[in-house]
Structure formats: C-alpha cells, structure tokens
C-alpha cells in the first residue's frame, strides 16, 4: 500500500481528478467557500505528482512509466499508457493550469459551483488520459470524455450566446472524432485481415501500408478530427465563438490544453501512421498553416472584442505549431512542441487577464476601456509583460518557440518561413494596438477610475504564470533537453518511413 501512495504512477495522474469529481459529487458540501478550497487544494495533488514524474523522467529513455493491462479481452484492447518527451511537458502543463484555473474561478463562478469543478476534473482526466494513452481505443475513450464537460463549461457558465457556441463546439468536435473513430476501426480491421490479430496498440500502426484510396480516406478521417481541434484554417470557425462565450477558466483550458490535443494528435498519430500519404499532402498543410498564421493575425487586428482578439491570435499561433510539425525538421519540431507549452502559458494568461478585466467592468469590448494604466498600474505591467511573451520578445518564452519553428522551416522550405515570419509582426501589431487603446491615453470613462488593482489572489495567479514564462525565456534548455531526445528518435523514424 505504501508503494502505491509513495510512487506516483501515470494512473494516478489520470484517475486522481476523476476520484476528485466523485468525491465532490458524493460529499454534501453546501458552502461555496469549502467547495472552492477543496477543489483547489485537491487539484494540487496531481500537479505535485506530475512534477515528481517530470523530475524522474529520463530524456533519453523513450517511452517510460509504462503500464499495460488487458482491458477488453475479446478485442485485445489494453489499458496501455506511457509518457515520452512529446507528452511529458503537455501533461505537466495540464496539471499546472488546472489549480490556477480553479484559483481564478473563486470570484467569477457563483452558480452551480460543484458541477463546475466536477466538469473540470473530468475534463482533466480526459486530457491527461489522451496525452498518455498508447492504445487507440483507450485514446478515443479519453478523447471523447472531454466532449461533454467542455460542452457544460461553455454552455452553463458562458456568456450571452453560450448555447450557440457550446452546440457549435460539440457538433464540430463530434463530427471530427466520429470520422476518426471510423478510420480507427478501418485500419484495425485491415490489419486484422493482413495479420489475423486484433490489435489496438498504437505503435503497431506506425507506417501502416494501406491501399491508396482507403489510406487517403483514413488519413483525412484522422486529419479532420485533429485539424478541427487545432484548429487549422478552414475548420477554425468554432473557436472564436467557443472562446468568446466560455468563462475565463474555460477559455484558459481551451486555449491552454484542448487545442494542444490537436497538434499532439498530428505528431503522434497522423504523421507516423500515414507517413507517405501525409508527405504528399504536406505542401497543402503547410499552406494552410501559413494561411492560418496570416489570416488569424489579420482577423485579430480587426476585433473589437478583447476575447475574440485573443481567440483569433490563437489561430495564428497554432499555425506556427502546425508549420513546425509539417516541416519535418529537428529544430522546427522542437520549436513546435515548445510552442505548444508557450502558447498554453501566454494565451492562457491573456485570457486570465481579460477575465480579470471582465470581473471589474463586465464587458470585454476594447472600446469600454482606455487609459486605465494610471488606475491599475501593476495589472497593466503584467498585461504588457504577457503580451510581449505572446508576441515573441527575446528573453521571454514565446521567442524560443517561434524562433525555432522559423529557423527549422527556413532550412527546409524557405518560402513558408518567410511568409510565416510576417505573423510575428502581425502579432506585435494587433496586441500592441489593443494595449494602447485599453491602457494608455486619457481615462475615457469616469467609472473606470474606481478599478481596484490586483489583490492577493490575483498576484499569486499572475506570479505563478510568470515563473515558467521567464524560466523558458531565459533557460529553455531545461525544457528542451527533456523533449529533444525523443523528438530526434521520432524524426529519424519518420524519415526512415519516407525512404
């Protein structure tokens, strides 16, 4: 028994949140304060465990902490989980963001508090499970587990048009994932006809040899599911709505983690399973990525709603990540994985800050502010700091991700790097313009004079976010050294498939 408690395993990371949800459901807590603090303190446990696992993680060790147990015997489905350099940081980020989201919700969420935390706990189980699952069936179960909690988070605690946004989110995501489901079933049954074994292990399907037409269809089945989640350009339309209408915590987890599942899926599933087919489509995917960067940037520029601005900037930043993945270059891939973390931190914090503004004035329109730097100077300082990190100022985290992606892409395909680099300029343009309009100049509305500056809770939140932002910015090697050995192996594998 002592062993189970002392040594955190990956199963702990997956199921602790679920147990938390069950405890919350059963225990007759009535007071908001108790529920708040219980959830917050409880969510620190998975975070603590994931830190221990991160410390114990051996960069050169490939897939680690593996657990394998038969689950559904008739179909040879295993409960098979493990972590490697691609997923370790994402798991850490997830467990890092959840306590902060809870802390940020103390004031914002007043209704149906229990359900709010239960939704988040189940969501956390789904997300961490998807990052860790090595069995396709298991992955799909965790992947779909996220659907309803997120629907609830947007639909119950969201803004005015929340129902529309929630339904849109649900239909888009379900559409993609059901087609992925069909593709999984097809490749499994194809494998069964070839080898006469039912097998759901993800790695058996790497470099899958499929007939041309069926392969292409399955490729698109997977691609659609992940591209919707990323979101890549033609299927991004659900994101601005979902972001805008979700409560601050929902936006943070959406931007911080859920979108990363899409890019994680691209790395873990699409490129290795269909290396040849994806290689054929790389030019199109690269163009879509660049299009996302530029289009997202321009759209951000035109937004009046602060949250929408950040939502479109997400489209733009996620474009960098997909650009890095599809360039098939070592630096670019490193940059892409690091950029997933960076985007989670920077954009997450931006949503948090906008949420704080919303708590003060109950509006998200850029118009309604103006000149408030004089009223709330510390808040402004943090806002500018985080925006600069998002823009990619050297010395802060955003720089390294974008720099590595552009460097790697430039080595492979110059034109995409050049076009992509305009995104950096655009992001500076829209964020700085927005900052100017919101924080500087004369105080436009007299009621804004009464804004209070940061309180203790907000200080703790912002400082916690700032630590990794500066850390990655100054010493990225600490994180890169954890991920790059796995990525090197991964890249060699893909290149081997393509030969």
């Amino acid at each position: 028994m002592a062993d189970i408690i002392n040594v955190p395993t990956l199963s702990h990371l997956i199921f602790l949140p679920l147990i938390g949800a069950i405890i919350l459901l059963i225990l007759p807590f009535k007071k908001n304060k108790i529920i708040n603090w219980f959830s917050f303190l409880y969510s620190l446990v998975p975070f603590y465990y994931s830190m221990i696992i991160f410390m114990k993680f051996n960069p050169g060790g490939g897939m680690q902490f593996q657990e394998k147990q038969i689950w559904i015997k008739a179909f040879n489905i295993y409960y098979n989980i493990g972590v490697d350099g691609i997923s370790i940081l994402l798991v850490l980020l997830t467990n890092f963001l959840i306590p902060l989201i809870f802390l940020s919700s103390f004031k914002y969420i007043q209704e149906h508090l229990k359900m709010y935390y239960i939704s988040f706990f189940i969501l956390q189980t789904g997300v961490v499970g998807s990052f860790l699952a090595l069995d396709m069936f298991l992955f799909y179960v965790f992947w779909e587990l996220m659907l309803l909690p997120m629907y609830f988070i947007i639909g119950v605690w969201g803004g005015k048009r929340r129902i529309e946004a929630a339904i849109k989110f649900l239909i888009f995501t379900a559409f993609g994932s059901f087609l992925m489901f069909l593709s999984i079933l097809y490749i499994v049954s194809y494998n069964y006809f070839q080898k006469n074994v039912l097998d759901f292990n993800l790695f058996s399907y790497y470099n899958m040899q499929l007939p041309q037409l069926a392969g292409t269809l399955c490729f698109f089945g997977f691609l659609l599911a992940f591209a919707i989640k990323v979101p890549m350009v033609p299927v991004h339309t659900w994101l601005p709505d979902a972001h805008t209408e979700a409560p601050a915590g929902g936006s943070i987890i959406l931007a911080g983690i859920l979108l990363k599942l899409g890019t994680y899926g691209l790395i873990r599933f699409i490129v290795p399973i269909f290396p040849k087919i994806s290689y054929q489509y790389f030019p199109i995917l690269l163009i879509l990525s660049v299009l996302g960067i530029i289009y997202g940037g321009f759209l951000s520029f035109a937004q009046e709603d602060f949250k929408k601005l950040i939502a479109y900037s997400s489209v733009s930043h996620m474009g960098f990540i997909t650009l890095g993945i599809f360039s098939l270059n070592f630096y670019a891939l490193n940059g892409a994985v690091l950029q997933m973390i960076n985007h989670g931190l920077s954009t997450g914090t931006l949503f948090l800050l906008v949420g704080m503004l919303y708590e003060r004035k109950h509006t998200r329109m850029i118009e309604d502010f103006g000149g408030i730097a004089r009223v709330i100077p510390t808040f402004t300082a943090f806002f500018i700091f985080v925006s600069l990190s998002s823009i990619g100022l050297p010395g802060l985290n955003g720089f390294w991700g974008e720099f590595l992606v552009l460097l790697g892409t430039f080595q492979e395909k110059k034109i995409y790097a050049i076009l992509g680099a305009t995104g950096v300029i655009l992001s500076a343009a829209y964020l700085l313009t927005a900052i100017k309009r919101v924080f500087f100049g004369e105080v436009k509305y007299p009621e804004n004079e009464r804004f209070s500056d940061l309180d203790l809770r907000e200080w703790i939140l912002l400082i916690s976010f700032s630590i990794p932002i500066v850390w990655i910015g100054i010493y990225p090697k600490f994180f890169l050294s954890k991920i790059s050995p796995s990525l090197e192996v991964y890249l060699n594998m893909i290149k081997g498939f393509l030969k």
């Binding site: 559904i72 015997k73 008739a74 179909f75 149906h112 359900m115 069936f137 799909y140 179960v141 779909e144 587990l145 659907l147 309803l148 629907y151 609830f152 639909g155 119950v156 929340r162 129902i163 929630a166 339904i167 649900l170 239909i171 379900a174 559409f175 059901f178 087609l179 489901f181 069909l182 079933l185 097809y186 499994v188 049954s189 069964y192």
Partner: protein, 472 residues
C-alpha cells in the same frame, strides 16, 4: 421431469401472474405486497433460468442453450427494472392494480418462448402472447383518449402484421413440409414466405417501412408501458430475426447476393435517416425517443444484414445496451412529470437538472449513451457494431451509420441543454419512491459499468452465438 424443469421459469411466471390477479380480485387489501412479491419471484426466476437443464425438449421444439439463456436473462433484467419503475407511476395516477403486473409477466413468457425455439408455431404463439398483452397494456388508461387511440392503432397495425407473418409461415409449411427453421434449397416460394414472415418481425422492431405506429403508440401510452413496449419486445424479436437470417441469408446470398443485401440495406439506411431526421424536430420527448428508437433499430439491422459471427455478437450486445439506455430515458420521463396522460414536452424540462439532480443525471447519461459518447454502454455497443460492419466489408453501411450518429448527437444533447442550460420556469412534480430510485440506480450503474467493462456481456453474447452456429 427434465422437460418441466426446462420450462420452469415460464410456468413459474405464468402462475405468478394468475396469483396476482387472484389476490387483486379477492383480497385487494394486499395490493402492497405485489411489487416485493414480484421482485423476489423475479430474483428466484433468475436462479431458475440459470439452473435450467440444457438441451432439446418437447420433441425438439423447445431448447435451452446459451443463446436462449442470453435472451431470457436479458428479458428478466428488463422486466425487473420495469416493475421497479412502474409502481410509483401507477400509484400517482391511482391505477395501481395487479393486472398490469400480470400482463407484463405474461408478455415476458411470450418473449421467453420466442427466444428459445425454432419451431414456427411456437414462435407465433409466443409472438401473439406478447402482442396480446401489449394491446391491453397500451390501452390501460381507459379514460384517456390518447391511450385509447394508441391502443387501437397498435392493435390494428400489429394484428395485421401478425397475420402477414402467419401467412408467410403457411407458405413456408406448404413449400418445405416442415415447421422448423432450417436451411433449405431456396425457391421463389420459400423466399416469398421468408419475406412475409420477416415483415411481421420487422414491424415489431419499428423499422422502415413499418415504423409509423411507433411514435403515436409511444406517445399515447403511459411511460412505464412505453418503457416496456419499446425495449423488451424488440429484444425478443431480434432473436427470431437472427434465427431467420442466420438460416437463410447464406443461401440467399449465394443466389441473389447483391440484391438481398441491397434490399435489406435500404431498410437499415432509411430507418436510420428517417429516425434521426424526424427526431431532430420533435418537441415531445416520447416521440423523440420513438424516432431515435427507429434509428437505433436501423443500426442494429445493419448488423443483422452482416450476419457474420462478430456482427451477431455485436447485435446481441447492442440489443442489451439498447434496453438499458432507452429504459433510462423513459423511466426518467415517467418519474419527472405530471400525470401519464399529459405530454412530455421538452420545454417542460427546462432547468430541472438542478432541481432533481439524480434523475436528471440518469437522463443525461442515457442520452449520452444513446448518442454513443464514451464511457457509456451505448458507445461500446456502437464500437462493436461498427467494427463488425467494417469487418464484414459493409463499408457503405458503416459510413452511413457514423454519419447518422453525428446527426443524432444534436437532438440528444439538446435534452441535456434543456436540463442544465435553461432557466427553470415551472417545476414538474417528482414521483420517486424507494423502488423507482432502486430502478434508476440499476440503470445508472449498468450504463457506466457495462460501458467501461463490456467484457462480461460480450462473452455471454459470444457464447450465445457459438452454440447457435453449431446448432444450424
């Protein structure tokens, strides 16, 4: 003696029905003991059923094997939940009389017979025993017009369908000189007889083109009857259809492969589309569930068309999952709501998720399960089913099925949205007592448990199909 033992559950349930009617007529004061009595008897029947000697009885027309046991246990399980749920609802409308339970028990005996024979006469006797009781049950609310209308519609259409089945059976006898379902050299007359026979059963499954009765009858009858009517008869009918398809489809495939699959696929595809598309615009929850049931039978029928071993196992699993999911839906519609003659409009359920957390949670889970979202049972069922479709190379059906699942998410989730995301206006009364709470708890646990660990039921289904293959 062995033969009596083989029929023990059927005999026991029949006499239990009589006993209840007798108590009702002569000592009406003992009304209170009905439900505990039946529940204990049902637990005893579980034991009796499991202990049945296996083999063939009564000159080989009745058999006990894992195939028939799978259905019998499934039916008992469903009956158990039905009895648990019905009591509080009957009481609410002041209609608690023993007859309802008796009719349900006798209907189950009919289903038992359908599942455990391949003799056409016995199948028909079981089928009629079932239908007869269902006619009475649908019309149980004598005073209300909707219930009368539903009963009449059901009676007319269903008896018409039964007579067509009987007509087909007569042709079958004329052509083959035997009343046993067994592989025969196909002739036109044989095929004609099979088509006629199947139509009656397809009617009971409310598949296209015989689906028109379902929404009206479901809407008209009280929730606890709908709960019974919409699940168990379908489950039992599946057993008959499996027998027919398993026996004849391989031969038909051999002769008219292309066409028979095409014709049957049309039934499956149209059922899916009609069910889902019309369910999208329903305002009455009972009607919505009726159309969703049509769509689900469409998925299931696709599995029947495949008629491979894998597909048949999946169909059995799907049938069982369908019982639990649909029962969850109708049970909550009965428990939250006014009198049974009042409609169950989606609008009335606004914001009730916070007023009645547990029943609403069961409804939510049932809807998610029907939509095929993991980790609920409906997801495992869909997984097995679609896998077996792809395995049987029926790609087109699989794709259509998946597209329909996507379509269906919208209306299932809309229920959740009304429950949790709308402001509550007027609060419907709750009719929950100990029994119905237990019933809901059983549904709740099975939805999750059999969703995460489908192994056990799937193994049972595998065994059922294995016996069945050796048999023909």
């Amino acid at each position: 003696m062995m033969e009596i033992e083989a029929l023990s559950t059927e005999i026991f349930l029949t006499f239990l029905g009589f006993l209840i009617i007798l108590i009702q007529s002569f000592i009406p004061k003992l009304k209170k003991i009905f439900v505990p009595l039946i529940l204990i008897s049902l637990l005893f029947s579980f034991y009796l059923t499991i202990e049945k000697p296996k083999g063939f009885f009564f000159y080989d027309i009745y058999y006990v094997n894992s195939f028939s046991l799978f259905f019998q246990i499934g039916i008992l399980f469903g009956l158990f939940i039905t009895i648990l749920i019905s009591q509080s609802l009957l009481k609410k409308d002041g209609l608690e009389r023993g007859e309802v339970y008796s009719f349900m028990l006798w209907a189950s005996v009919g289903m038992f017979l359908m599942a455990s024979t391949d003799n056409l006469i016995l199948i028909f006797v079981g089928f009629e025993l079932l239908s007869l009781n269902l006619y009475i049950l649908t019309g149980y609310y004598k005073e209300t017009q909707v219930s009368q209308e539903a009963a009449l519609k059901y009676f007319l259409l269903s008896s018409f369908a039964s007579s067509i089945t009987l007509f087909g059976m007569a042709f079958y006898f004329g052509e083959t000189d035997s009343l046993t379902l067994a592989s025969k050299t196909p002739t036109y007359l044989l095929i004609f007889s099979i088509v006629l026979m199947s139509s009656g059963f397809i009617f009971k499954l409310s598949l296209f083109p015989f689906h028109f009765w379902a929404p009206d009858v479901y809407q008209g009858s009280p929730s606890y009857i709908t709960l019974f009517l919409s699940t168990l008869p379908k489950f039992a009918t599946i057993s008959v259809l499996i027998k027919i398809f398993y026996t004849f489809l391989p031969n038909l495939f051999f002769l008219y492969q292309e066409n028979s699959v095409k014709v049957l696929s049309i039934i499956a595809i149209f059922s899916m589309f009609i069910g889902n598309l019309i369910a999208l615009v329903q305002k009455d929850l009972k009607r919505m569930l009726a159309f969703s049931g049509i769509a689900h039978m469409g998925y299931l029928f696709a599995g029947l068309i495949a008629s491979s071993d894998m597909a048949t196992k999946s169909v059995l699993f799907y049938g069982f999952a369908y019982i639990i999911m649909t029962m969850g839906g109708f049970a909550v519609l009965g428990i939250i709501g006014g009198g049974e003659n009042e409609p169950r409009l989606l609008n009335d359920y606004k914001g009730l998720g916070y007023v009645y957390p547990f029943p609403a949670l069961v409804l939510t889970f049932s809807m998610a399960s029907l939509a095929g979202i993991p980790p609920f049972q409906g997801f495992s069922a869909k997984f097995f089913l679609f896998y077996s479709l792809i395995d049987a190379k029926l790609y087109f059906l699989a794709i259509i099925g998946i597209l329909n699942s996507i379509l269906s998410i919208y209306y299932y989730v809309r229920v959740i949205y009304f429950l949790y995301m709308k402001e509550k206006e007027e609060v419907l009364p709750l009719n929950l007592n100990f029994y119905s709470l237990l019933g809901l708890a059983i549904i709740f646990v099975s939805l999750i448990y059999f969703g995460i660990f489908p192994q056990y039921i799937f193994e049972r289904a595998t065994k059922a199909v294995e016996v069945f293959i050796g048999f023909f």
